[in-house]
């Protein structure tokens, strides 16, 4: 197990380097734009010769040097843990990230809770009652959940609440759970349900098919034959093994939640990481984009690593092969 873990971990070092490289070059192909924007703000009338100003701003921001030099410098800074500072606010990009993180973490956790609380039990029930009416209805819901875009479900939920005045949603202050629990729930419950349903649908389908496969195995028949109660057979014998591939799907979902968050943070005006990335991209605030994307991608790499290790731990066949 130790060697397996070490091998899986070491493989990720070049991946993180590649991520940093990709982020750097993708964001530096158009470096002039922020400067142009800045000039336009300082000099709204235009007309003057701005070459000197452009040079000065580029020097201030440290982007007057050749790209190779900036690249090595960037890598060195990343290694030291310095992710640069925002062009706009001149503050460390990392502090910008820290301001957005609580919103995104709260939203992601709530989505994950909704996804798991609905998908896993429903998947199991659907498998146990295969080809019954319940099974058909649940499967139809899951198929629709996979196909329906999450932002559409979110929009429609928002409309429902607004139209029938079910409760008031604070779209301006975006309170966090520990600041104002009730108002926070009133706002976050909508994206949590919409996102949780969309990502849970996939997990549900996988849980169902895995359960069906496991329930057909010999050792399950043995468990029935021994006269064990249904609960014991389902929970202790079947679910345990059926959950192994589902783990991967859950890992993918955790990683994918961030993508969904961008959409929901935009729709519900939540000042989380996703919304800040959108702003930074629009404003071409390169260091902020770089820092955010690097942090997120590294996080995903580690989630995948954790899933792999967990996988190897619960299923010995994998780490031995």
């Amino acid at each position: 197990m130790g060697r397996y873990a070490l091998r899986r971990t070491l493989v990720n070092i070049p991946v993180i380097w590649l991520i940093a490289t990709l982020v750097f070059f993708a964001t530096n192909v158009l470096p002039g734009d922020f400067v142009a924007r800045r000039i336009a703000q300082q000099n709204p009338a235009g007309g003057e010769d701005t070459t000197a100003q452009v040079a000065q701003i580029k020097k201030d921001l440290g982007i007057d040097k050749p790209i190779a030099e900036r690249y090595t410098r960037y890598l060195w800074d990343v290694v030291r843990g310095d992710l640069g500072e925002s062009y706009r606010s001149r503050q460390p990009a990392i502090s910008e990230f820290k301001r957005g993180a609580p919103y995104t973490i709260q939203l992601s956790l709530m989505m994950l809770v909704v996804a798991l609380a609905t998908s896993v039990p429903i998947g199991i029930i659907s498998a146990l009652r295969q080809d019954s009416l319940v099974d058909y209805v649940l499967r139809l819901l899951a198929i629709l959940g996979v196909a329906a875009p999450n932002f559409w479900i979110g929009t429609m939920l928002l409309l429902l609440v607004v139209r029938y005045e079910l409760w008031t949603i604070d779209l301006i202050n975006s309170p966090l759970l520990w600041e104002d629990p009730l108002r926070s729930l009133q706002l976050f419950i909508l994206p949590a349900v919409a996102g949780g349903f969309a990502s849970g649908a996939g997990i549900m389908r996988l849980t169902r098919s895995q359960m069906l496969e496991v329930l057909r195995q010999d050792y399950i028949r043995t468990a029935w034959a021994k006269g064990l109660r249904e609960r014991v057979v389902v929970v202790r014998h079947a679910t345990k093994n059926a959950m192994i591939p589902v783990l991967t799907a859950i890992g993918l979902t955790v990683a994918g939640l961030l993508s969904g968050n961008v959409v929901f943070e935009y729709l519900f005006n939540i000042p989380g990481v996703g919304n800040r990335i959108l702003t930074a991209i629009t404003e071409r605030d390169v260091p902020v984009v770089q820092a955010f994307v690097l942090i997120i991608a590294t996080f995903v790499v580690f989630v995948n690593l954790a899933v792999d290790l967990l996988y190897g731990w619960v299923d010995p066949r994998i780490r031995l092969s």
Partner: protein, 341 residues
């Protein structure tokens, strides 16, 4: 051994006798598919409807999708307007809507004139819906073709050669898959100024390559250990020949399945981008319409409802057809083929 010899030997040992393609057989195969897999058949019908709508858009539209409609202004005061022509200072004494004879027909609900109402800019929603099908199909199918092309190439090479080539391609795939898809797309679209629908198709295709490589690679790994590959190598076929003539035809089943299912993912990704305002500003996109429809709340919700519903049904069609194809063509692949969006 010369190439001609290899070809002759292949002809002798591998080729099944050529079978004439009869249209009747294709029709029967389609009918069998529809009967065996009713859900898959339903998916095929949904796809057919979207394709038809997309191609017939110029004929089934009721108005030009960009035509702005106006209606009589209830606040219009004819007497006042006439006076204002002589004495312009009157205009400052009254609210401006008193002087406009017509207003943009925004927030008009469902009517015989506009089946699905009009949007905020007074354009006919039904006609725009029809044109939205074109963009979804163009982006979805285009991106899938790009992703499959590159994915096949790198996936086959990666699995066939193994070693450091495989290692390199695998790490590149890991890298691409570490980014949340939407963020990687935004990153790529940043590179070009004023990204249009073609840039978007290319960006989506590139983002999708990694998932295709995964599927193709595992299929090739299975095929590579088969006896027919070894036999081809023994009779002296070059690596390129083995890959193209022997491996490629044998991995078509999973390739077709992932092609079909991924189209749905690309359509969702495109509409998500359009929804958050990063789509092609000139194109009519269902995703953008869901967002624009929000501005009509709570007076009318038709636009958001139908445009999102159209995305759902289109994606549903591709998913159902793909699932059924997988069951028919390649039962081993159950559960695989998620493209990560």
């Amino acid at each position: 051994m010369t190439t001609q010899n290899v070809a002759r030997l292949e002809e002798q040992y591998f080729r099944p006798p050529p079978q004439p393609v009869r249209p009747l057989r294709a029709a029967r195969a389609t009918r069998n598919f529809m009967v065996q897999k009713p859900l898959g058949g339903f998916g095929v019908i949904l796809i057919a409807v979207v394709v038809l709508v997309a191609f017939l858009a110029p004929f089934i539209q009721r108005y030009d999708p960009d035509e702005v409609f106006s209606r009589d202004n209830p606040d219009y005061d004819a007497e006042l307007a006439e006076k204002s022509l002589e004495d312009r200072s009157i205009r400052f004494l009254y609210p401006p809507e008193k002087f406009e004879k017509t207003v943009v027909a925004s927030v008009d609900g469902i009517s015989a004139g506009h089946w699905l109402g009009t949007d905020t800019a007074g354009r006919d929603v039904y006609s725009r819906m029809v044109w939205g099908a074109q963009l979804s199909l163009l982006v979805g199918v285009g991106a899938a073709i790009i992703a499959i092309g590159f994915g096949l190439f790198f996936g086959i090479i990666s699995a066939y050669f193994g070693g450091w080539v495989d290692m390199l391609i695998q790490r590149l795939t890991d890298t691409l898959q570490a980014f949340p898809a939407l963020i990687l797309l935004l990153l790529f679209l940043q590179v070009v100024e004023n990204a249009n629908k073609y840039h978007m198709t290319i960006a989506l295709g590139i983002v999708g390559i990694a998932a295709v490589i995964r599927v193709v690679r595992s299929a090739v790994l299975r095929a590579r250990s088969e006896l027919y590959v070894e036999a081809a190598q023994v009779i002296g076929a070059t690596d390129a020949r083995v890959m193209v003539r022997h491996i490629l035809p044998n991995i078509m089943a999973p390739t077709i399945v992932i092609f079909t299912i991924s189209i749905g993912s690309y359509i969702v990704a495109e509409s998500s981008l359009a929804f958050i305002g990063f789509g092609d500003p000139a194109a009519i996109s269902w995703g953008k319409m869901v967002n624009e429809g929000r501005k009509l709340f709570p007076a009318s919700y038709t636009m958001s409802l139908v445009s999102g519903g159209a995305i759902t049904l289109t994606v549903l069609g591709f998913n159902l057809a793909g699932d059924a194809l997988r069951d028919v063509l390649d039962p081993r692949m159950r559960g695989a083929g998620k493209s990560g969006f």
